[in-house]
């Protein structure tokens, strides 16, 4: 397994090996799936759309719908305007969505297709009560996280309006997380008595139930009316600084909705901050239900600490998720030795280093725009007790015989994960359980017979 990854860390300036990121359009597609009645549309070659649908379907084990402009060489030379027009007509005709959310690809970006102009030209032909929005997602900038942010901003730019009449709501913009996480964030907001609109909201879409009849547009997702009404929210909360700050800022600029940016609420402190922000907004007392959950989590963390304390870990994946998991790992006494994301941007490094510093952890390596090959080389030189991240880390885990805790994106080789949260106190409990089980299973496997414990 990974036999050609050597200990000597290779200096690279051009070659990406085993990436910890993918391209913008898939993030845009995921965000668009979080809008009710929405058909994501990929303006490029068929392959992009096919790959993105495949990737999302493999992670969620649920259908990810999307259409494509199906570029050929001709369209690449003469522009994709006519393909897009035909596509919009056919999509409304055959699949009857409420809204089409177009995102670009490296192909349409490189040839300079002007989506604003194409959509404006087509406006008069959009059926009554239907919508077309777009965002630019050049695959050669940022990562899938950037595409996710861009698509959310696209919805806001096209649809949100400040009508001058406040709706008393809070806009919640979740980071690139699973529907199970979005459900948990909403549950907490509801418990806190906060009237909210979440954009995007893939719960009910990418975790829709089996009913024996297929719904192309399942019950979940933010409605167009709710997105329009976002402009009348009292404030918005961006939950995940790297993915969500930009769209919240767009909403403020366009509709004067003030916003606050928080870390993705993973772990105790970040969940506390989320609840305090909700509390500040609703001015209602934190209900006992949440206090109880927090207390349970505290109980677990105290009881089990001897097994997590001092254990080293490598955390990799999407920036906001990795920051949250790093915070939680520190909270249970672990030592995050390698903290990486494939997504470029120095803010990640700044935030990760701040967490480590806060917990007095020294000697760790934090890096944005990194990849799994590089992290593996570090591990070869100085191993860790646990790895935490997505499925692509499993080759390293196998090669180095390190237990792997699956959390984040993509998880292509396990089931149920997308239904279960890692955010909130409940999510923290789950993550702690996953980490402890990984560590303790390994102790049971590796210890001598005479050291084998029935009670731990």
């Amino acid at each position: 397994m990974l036999n050609y990854t050597s200990k000597e860390v290779a200096e690279r300036s051009a070659l990406r090996i085993n990436p910890a990121k993918t391209c913008q359009p898939v993030g845009a597609m995921y965000a668009a799936l979080g809008v009710y009645g929405c058909m994501p549309h990929s303006h490029g070659s068929q392959g992009c759309c096919s790959y993105h649908r495949t990737f999302l379907t493999r992670h969620f084990k649920d259908p990810a719908i999307a259409a494509s402009s199906s570029f050929t060489e001709g369209a690449s030379v003469f522009g994709g305007g006519s393909n897009l027009k035909t596509a919009m007509r056919n999509i409304f005709d055959i699949y009857d969505p409420k809204i089409i959310a177009v995102h670009t690809t490296c192909l349409s970006e490189t040839i300079g297709d002007d989506l604003n102009a194409y959509i404006t030209d087509y406006e008069s032909k959009i059926p009554e009560g239907k919508y077309v929005v777009h965002t630019n997602t050049p695959s050669y900038v940022g990562s899938h996280i950037t595409g996710y942010s861009n698509m959310i901003a696209g919805f806001i730019k096209y649809l949100s309006e400040n009508t001058g009449k406040k709706n008393g709501k809070m806009a919640l913009i979740p980071g690139f997380v699973n529907p199970g996480d979005m459900r948990e964030m909403k549950r907490i907001a509801k418990l806190m008595g906060v009237d909210y609109t979440m954009l995007p909201d893939t719960s009910g879409v990418m975790d829709a139930p089996m009913t024996t009849h297929y719904e192309m547009y399942p019950k979940g997702g933010t409605t167009v009316e709710e997105i329009q009404d976002l402009g009348n929210c009292e404030m918005s909360l961006a939950l995940g600084e790297i993915a969500c700050d930009m769209p919240a800022d767009v909403l403020e600029k366009k509709c004067k909705v003030p916003y606050e940016t928080l870390a993705l609420p993973i772990g105790v402190e970040y969940t506390d901050k989320y609840i305090m922000a909700l509390n500040e907004f609703s001015k209602t007392e934190v209900p006992y239900a949440l206090e109880e959950e927090r207390g349970q989590l505290m109980d677990i963390m105290l009881d089990s600490n001897q097994y997590s304390n001092g254990k080293t870990c490598a955390i990799y994946g999407d920036p906001d998720t990795v920051l949250g998991i790093t915070q939680l790992a520190c909270e249970i006494g672990m030592v995050p030795k390698y903290v990486i994301t494939g997504t470029p941007g120095s803010l990640f490094e700044k935030r990760a280093n701040a967490i480590l510093e806060k917990f007095g952890i020294e000697g760790s390596t934090v890096k944005a725009n990194s990849d799994l090959f590089e992290m593996h080389q570090w591990i070869k030189n100085d191993p860790v007790d646990v790895m935490i991240g997505g499925s692509y880390g499993k080759a390293i885990a196998r090669a180095e015989d390190i237990p792997l805790v699956r959390a984040g994106f993509p998880i292509l080789d396990r089931y149920v994960h997308s239904y279960m949260p890692i955010v909130g106190y409940k999510g923290a409990m789950r993550l702690v359980e996953l980490i402890l089980t990984a560590i303790m299973d390994r102790m049971d496997r590796d210890c001598a017979d005479e050291d084998f414990e029935v009670v731990m």
Binding site: A14, L15, R16, R58, P63, A64, S68, S70, I94
Partner: protein, 529 residues
């Protein structure tokens, strides 16, 4: 109304005009002409991928000791990383790089100023880290648009590092599907690899073409062939390697499994080296038996013929009981198969032998010959899209060319029903009245399930859960749902067991909650007691 007409009727006139040529109902005795390998209508949710997926994902990617570098932004390389189940095993003499995903991860500045410098540097780093004997560069969409000359860079690198460097201009927008990418990849292997080795020819030697070792299919076929006494020189390209492909020209015969993706190499090798080719199908019990017998007849050695019958008898006996148990549970079921370019045909016979009728079938990216048979090739019209795909001609290689069998001997084999340089397409096995949809799409999938009462649907991951959600069991025939092998005798049993399992999942009987089955609530209104 005919199910086909009923479904097509729902399209707008423009879409109808396009799709009516791609969707037909089979009528025995008729020519059953279909339109294939043409552009997908934009906006239609097709299952097709792109040229890059066909070249890098299908043909080049599985070559284990070829270090493939995707030149482009990160996505394309990422999505084709370990996701196709083309199993491979490296050893001391042959490296396997398949756990690695290499990309130039092009950034905006590379798009603006050109990506050649970055590609050169990436090649340097790749050579330093992996020390490969062969590198493949696969282009993605923007590379062709900005005009990076990957072929010149490949030539430079060959000189500089003393290794083979192949370059594939397989930008996603080329052609109309993955198919163009197969052709481009075939050309590259023909130009740069096949025929460059110096191994001596061995007896009863074959290459297995168009076998990608999904779920270990190639290994299972290889096991059978070796049991009988054949020498497998190379497999193209599942668990294949640069090391073995170099000597492919020494084989006597090419066995073509996936016709669509690799018939170009079969044809070119016939011209260049005189290698005969035979269409085989190792999916299915009857078909595997026929392919093995055809092969023995080609070599016409009594010992091989005898050994073939012994192996067939042993292998068949080992699965008979298991197959019979599955037949019992599957008999009378109706299947739909929608896969890439040959597999939809390959499974029809196997399903038949399990008592399952294929009432709906189609290909994602096939050409008319994959449906109607190779005899229609001369009548296929070239269009703007197919003309954009590189087509190369090869000449007789004077040092390696060898006539294996005379044209008369080949004619005699053909007369005996052995498909020498022949393929009769899907029509050979499809039943009368079956609905065929070329370049199938989401809408038609949903509609035909309703119209035709499908019991089991074989397709890919994008529609798997759509189908399941409709209450219809679904198995992926691209990836075998992480099972397999499905080839050969043992593979047929694996397949039969998997299909039986999929149609008999306990949860199928629990889908309706008890309160949905009770028409009214028991109890009484308050105050009545």
């Amino acid at each position: 109304m005919d199910p086909r007409d009923k479904v097509l009727d729902k399209y707008s006139s423009k879409v109808y005009k396009n799709r009516k040529e791609h969707v037909i109902t089979i009528k025995d005795g008729e020519p059953n002409v279909i339109t294939a390998d043409t552009r997908t209508v934009p906006g239609i949710m097709t299952n097709r991928g792109c040229c890059y997926a066909g070249a890098k994902g299908v043909v080049i990617g599985p070559l284990k000791d070829v270090l493939t570098i995707t030149h482009g932004p990160i996505g394309c390389g990422f999505y084709s990383w370990g996701t196709r189940r083309n199993k491979a095993k490296g050893d001391e003499s042959t490296k396997s790089f398949l756990e690695y995903c290499l990309s130039t991860d092009m950034q905006e500045t590379d798009i603006v100023f050109g990506g050649e410098k970055k590609l050169r540097q990436a090649l340097k780093e790749a050579v330093e880290i992996f020390d490969p004997e062969c590198i493949a560069i696969a282009s993605t969409c923007p590379v062709g648009l900005i005009g990076d000359d990957i072929h010149a860079i490949a030539s430079e690198a060959e000189k500089e590092y003393g290794i083979t460097v192949m370059a594939f201009s397989c930008e996603g927008y080329k052609g109309v599907s993955q198919s163009g990418g197969h052709h481009i990849a075939n050309n590259g292997l023909m130009k740069k690899v096949i025929g460059t080795g110096d191994a001596s020819p061995v007896k009863y030697s074959v290459n297995l073409l168009g076998e990608y070792n999904i779920g270990g299919d190639g290994w299972e076929v290889e096991r059978l062939l070796k049991r009988i006494g054949y020498n497998v020189i190379s497999i193209m390209t599942g668990d294949g390697s640069y090391a073995t492909l170099k000597n492919a020209h020494t084989a006597d015969l090419n066995l073509v499994q996936c016709h669509r993706s690799i018939n170009y190499i079969a044809e070119m090798m016939k011209t260049k080296y005189g290698t005969d080719w035979m269409k085989v199908n190792f999916i299915g019990i009857d078909t595997t038996k026929k392919s093995l017998r055809d092969l023995a007849k080609y070599f016409n050695d009594p010992e091989l013929i005898k050994r073939t019958e012994e192996v067939i008898a042993e292998e068949e006996a080992s699965i008979a009981q298991g197959i019979a148990a599955c037949q019992e549970k599957l008999k009378g079921k109706k299947a739909a198969i929608y896969v890439g370019g040959s597999r939809s045909h390959h499974y029809i016979n196997l399903l038949n032998s399990l008592g399952v009728d294929t009432v709906l079938a189609g290909y994602e990216f096939a050409h008319r010959d994959d449906y109607e048979g190779r005899e229609v090739i001369p009548t296929i019209k070239q269009d703007a899209d197919s003309k954009n795909i590189e087509s190369i001609t090869v000449a007789k290689d004077e040092s390696y060319y060898k006539e294996r069998l005379t044209e008369e001997e080949l004619m005699a084999l053909r007369a005996d029903g052995i498909p020498m340089e022949e393929y009769n397409g899907m029509w050979e096995d499809i039943m009368d009245g079956a609905v065929i949809t070329d370049d199938y799409n989401h809408f038609e999938t949903e509609q035909f399930i309703k119209e035709l009462g499908i019991d089991i649907f074989f397709s890919g991951i994008k529609d798997k859960y759509v189908i399941t959600r409709m209450g219809v069991p679904s198995r992926q025939l691209h990836s075998y749902d992480y099972s397999g092998p499905y080839a050969g005798f043992k593979g047929a049993l694996n397949f039969a067991n998997d299909v039986t399992m999929a149609t008999h999942i306990p949860a199928w009987n629990m889908l309706t909650a008890p309160w949905k089955k009770t028409p009214t609530l028991n109890g009484s209104l308050g105050g009545n007691e």
